[in-house]
Symmetry: none
Subunit: 217 residues, 4 copies
DNA sequence: GATGAATGAGCTTTCATTCAT
DNA sequence: TATGAATGAAAGCTCATTCAT
């Protein structure tokens, strides 16, 4: 094998190892952030959870905040993929329901990610990442909502007049609020006490929405 | 005046002074928590804001955590009063809308209280307050929801059959989810980007709900 | 004793205690800075030397650099007093010699202070104190040199024409250089190997200077 | 070619390569030490500047300290060469002045080397190099002073009686002190404020010295 | 009761040094 | 020989909590 090919192969493996370690640190960070909060989490705890030394974390991430940033960005990317897959798999008439429930299920299975998003509003202040990061994250979130929004539009029969843009946006926001609120109530343990599940809330919201969409046409 | 009566009077005044100081500390804490966040706030800042020495805070609250526990309990009490007042002031047909919007406005004007509530699920652990406190807070939250729930029941015309208990509960949860979700989206800055306000979301939800309640009767 | 007087007395004692502690910390810092250098010195070492906890240092000085700044400013103030005293005590004809030797002796007895001054040129960069501090320190140093300069002027017989300002300044700088250089060589152990003492160097410099001053008149 | 000769030749080349790399590292270290200070410099920066990996530095120098030990030793060797060259180039009557000014200029152009020298007295402790190193460096410094001392001796007219050994030593020390002190004042920024330059101080010192030497003869 | 000086564990981050590859 | 990822011991600094006055 020629030297440069060997070199490339070695570099490739190194890259892979590096990516793997980054991911391991990220996993540990996700767990610790979720458990202790953005401020409560310590680098020591994250490093310990990842089974490495403190200094090693800094070989991959320049600061605590950047860990959080990457975590959140990755989470939103995963969510988007999750939503797209769910919508694609469903029959046209079920796509809205499938998307909404996928949104719900995603966070239900990864409650840590839900908390991650909450810190956006308050915990991220001191860091210097906000300007571009915020735009990036907002963009990703919007893309997620767009998946739902598109499914909503397809819910209207093709022979009927298409949905008014304002109404579409309003209904998307309502759906997002209902879903987010349901998750919140459930995760903070407030739903159990109210005798309901978040999933039912979401399902009911979508059912009513579909009825209205049909009636409007 | 007999000695024991004098004693009681003196004790009463002392109690009053004590309660007054507790409240002053609480006010200061509310302000500092709001300004610096739950983790960013320091006991020194709170004491300074209250115009007393650090040590004095410990004469009234055993730990920093208990301060925001009390703050949260007070917040829910305030919310309940706020809801009751709004509902009472409104005409029978507007009571549900008034209650829901009051819920929204309360947190909109006190966004920190919203975060306070969110921390319930995760941030309050280290202190030993959780078991009973959690029950207390849940109870208060339920009472708040009950105010909305009652208004919902009164929304149904008296000549029509009363609302099914299950349906009442389901609609209450949905309303809570929609309201909470709207607040969340707004506070984390996600609503602005979606071109909507939380208030509109809540109003729309209630309007649709009222329509359905009328149709059901 | 009236309450306000008692209060004042108590405050006075507190102030005294505070000043005393500040001084103790300063002494410890002087020792550690001299032993380990400006960067080598650690707050932990300083605190340990002072017999207090790390956090306590911060009750008196907001940062490591401010400790250094106060140390240096105090040192220069002491030097000035030392020089003035020496010159005042001496007979008119001996004042220049007395001042120069006092300069030398001061640092000979407090070699730490000599090192303190050396850090000025390089170690103080990151801190935010430099602009005013540097001016302050320069001012104090100039005042010290002025004491020598004045003595130099008085060395010229009153019936002779007074010293040219330029020459006075040049001779002052030369004296400062000779004295400083002698101290440096001695403190870094280079003089021992050269078989001489700094004091002799200074004395010789002054003797020659006096001869020249007399010859000039 | 016999095997052992081949071996020697190969070894010789290896040695040369090794020496070359050592020098490259040293150059890098000089630059970084100059830019960031003795404590501010990091091994990473030095390695990066030298274009090699961190670990590689340790193949040539056992510790960071030994790097600046070698740097300092090299600096003194350079100084000696610099002085010799300057003295050699000058006419007999100007050799003392040339040597003294060369001393001054050398450090003026390499202020970091001056600090390097100052650290000898205090900063070099942790490493285990001091005992022999200190002797070595002292020896080199003496050789430098000897260059000046020799020039001083040659300043005396050959027909006059040669200089007394004690006086020669004393004048050498005085010159060293004046030059060192002038450099110190200049480097720490104290000369600028006194309205003079180190060079002028040195020149004046030598002029007076030469007058005295002539008068003595 | 009220004070605030004192504590010291804990934080994030850096970096000289080691060692498997 | 050369590499650079990994280590972990510090560093400066903060702050909840205690306690002598």
């Amino acid at each position: 094998m020629p030297a440069d090919l060997l070199e490339k192969k070695r570099t490739g493996r190194r890259e892979a190892v590096r990516a793997f370690k980054r991911e391991a640190i990220l996993q540990a960070a996700r767990k610790i952030f979720a458990r202790d909060g953005l401020d409560g989490a310590t680098l020591r705890a994250i490093a310990a959870e990842a089974g490495i030394a403190v200094g090693t974390v800094y070989l991959h991430y320049p600061a605590k905040e950047s860990l959080y940033a990457e975590l959140l960005a990755g989470s939103l990317a995963d969510l988007q993929k999750h939503l797209r897959d769910a919508v694609t798999r469903a029959m046209p008439d079920d796509q809205l329901m499938a998307g909404a429930l996928a949104f719900y299920d995603f966070y239900r299975q990864r409650p840590d990610d839900l908390y991650l998003g909450l810190y956006l509003g308050q915990g991220l202040r001191p860091a210097g990442l906000t300007p571009e990061l915020d735009r990036l994250l907002n963009g990703r979130l919007i893309q997620c909502y767009t998946v739902l929004s598109d499914a909503m539009r397809r819910q209207v029969p093709s022979e009927a007049p298409p949905l008014d843009a304002d109404m579409l946006r309003a209904e998307t926001v309502s759906l997002a609020a209902a879903t987010g609120g349901a998750l919140m109530l459930e995760v903070t343990g407030r739903l159990k006490v109210l005798g309901d599940t978040g999933k039912a809330v979401v399902r009911r919201h979508v059912e009513l929405l579909v009825q209205r969409l049909r009636a409007a046409s």
